[in-house]
Symmetry: C2
Subunit: 309 residues, 2 copies
């Protein structure tokens, strides 16, 4: 099978009103709305690094798109289109069918369209470049946290890292935890709703501590967080009680929840938002002018964040 | 070195008026002009597949961006911004410095800016997603060739494939030929000028015959080309005379020249364009309604195009 029939067979999902032309020409041509700014991000997932060797094609496709969508969520953007660069060791029709079906399913759910791609031969690797839109000057940034802002995270933290650790230790985590690892839910709706409520936002991909520190550094502020307030599932709480492995919570990574800061005056808006949507947000600390991150609560051990190299 | 210091050290080239925010936030935020459409394309280059193992970091960087720019050229687009997904087996400071300097040099020359990226650990692989703009409904397409159009190619064909073949056979090609292989020049200026003159256009990446066939298929037309009219350097002519290896010319690939079709009424415009610019274009055939590609001239052998798998 050559590249053209591969793309035609598995990734030609039909045209759309957004893109005049998609797969088939040298480039996709895309209409743009003058009231918006583009928001774009790229992430690569590599077998054995970002997902275990035995991960299903369906989960790989889902996660590859979801982690990119999470970057759009962190900016408060609406997802618009993406390109796919897929490196495959060989052509397996069943694998490609499952990969394609899963990618299309998440795309349809989110309302994002595939406008172009490239397939090459090599170690399995998926690079997705997502583009979304935000209203002019309304993008949620890392650099806008203000002293006095309250710090929140969405849902629960470290489920994915917990699942990964259990699998590595030949333990069986709950389906809930595995699902967080293989199929993280990008918080696009929450991100968009926060764009008029929060001052700063980031998605937690490399671990809560490291990602919160990005907000602090970019905003030239400090923070105090209470480790005991970090929302955890009972499963993770039990694991921590047994192991005292707080590193998992602070540096676990792969959460794809949002960490954001909200000025006190917007707390009622945040409460309304919570009650309207199926999302829980939990306050874990406060922004201060210390230029440091102070961790209070039961945890006092230094722990390392994920290193890419 | 972690991912953040790697990006900060090698790829933070400063901000620009196009992108409000580049490297450092979850996504880049980009201003858009309402009179234009976006044009976007992605290509992956893998060591040992798209460039030999001993290729310099500088040439790898150049080629990775150039082949993507060539897709924009084929659409008649102006280059605006790109993202870089870089997979590295390890961190070598000298290699990264050279890669970064070369990428920046070509970016500056073209006037395209790097707005975001991702670095991961694995087999050396470079995925670049370029985005450009075209005036509304002015994109050059593969699908607009008309019966009676004359078919042209820019400059000379198969220099890169010739260089690659010589290197594989432990022969030393000319610097000119090697340069075509390692540093193909994206024909952006020509593409933009052709947007009001040509009916259809493609860049020759997979071999002249295969890429011309894309135009024919997309436009529902046929063509007749005269193999003897294909412009070749003396070096390649000598090689062909010796080997009769016409496959190199028809299926060699990696040219990144443009193949385009022009209605007879625009021939004077095309002549003016040629004399104004440092580019040669050569007529090699004519579009007809046969729905086939007929090759006349000294060549009559079937030859295979490049297969990605």
């Amino acid at each position: 099978m050559n590249e053209f029939s591969l793309i035609e067979t598995y990734f030609n999902w039909g045209s759309s009103s957004l893109a005049n032309l998609g797969i088939g020409d040298d480039c996709a041509v895309i209409n743009i709305d003058p009231n918006y700014q583009l928001v774009t991000s790229v992430d690569t997932l590599i077998e054995g690094v970002h997902f275990p060797l035995n991960t299903s094609a369906s989960d790989i496709a889902y996660k590859s798109l979801a982690v990119n969508l999470s970057d759009l969520a962190a900016m408060g953007a609406r997802a618009k289109y993406f390109t796919l660069a897929l490196t495959l060791p060989n052509i397996k029709k069943k694998w490609l069918s499952q990969f394609s079906a899963s990618l299309k399913s998440l795309s349809d759910e989110i309302g994002i369209i595939l406008v172009g791609g490239d397939t090459t031969k090599g170690t399995l690797s998926i690079t997705i470049n997502v583009t979304g839109v935000v209203e002019k000057d309304k993008a949620l940034l890392r650099s806008s946290a203000q002293v006095g802002d309250l710090i929140f995270v969405s849902n629960t933290i470290s489920d994915a890292a917990y699942a990964w650790k259990q699998l590595q230790n030949n333990q069986i985590p709950s389906e809930y935890a595995i699902n967080h690892f293989n199929r993280p839910k990008p918080q696009l709706v929450l991100g968009q709703q926060l764009s008029t409520i929060a001052n700063a936002c980031i998605d937690i991909s490399d671990g809560l501590e490291q990602d919160l520190k990005h907000i602090l550094t970019c905003s030239n502020v400090g923070a105090s967080i209470n480790i005991d307030d970090i929302p955890l599932t009972n499963e993770v709480k039990t694991y921590i009680a047994k192991t005292n492995d707080w590193c998992l919570v602070l540096a676990g990574g792969d959460d794809y929840e949002l960490c954001f800061t909200v000025p006190v005056k917007n707390m009622n808006l945040l409460k309304n938002l919570q009650s309207k949507n199926n999302v829980t947000v939990t306050q874990i600390g406060i922004i201060n002018d210390s230029m440091m991150l102070t961790k209070i609560g039961t945890f006092d051990k230094q722990c390392c964040s994920y290193q890419h190299f």
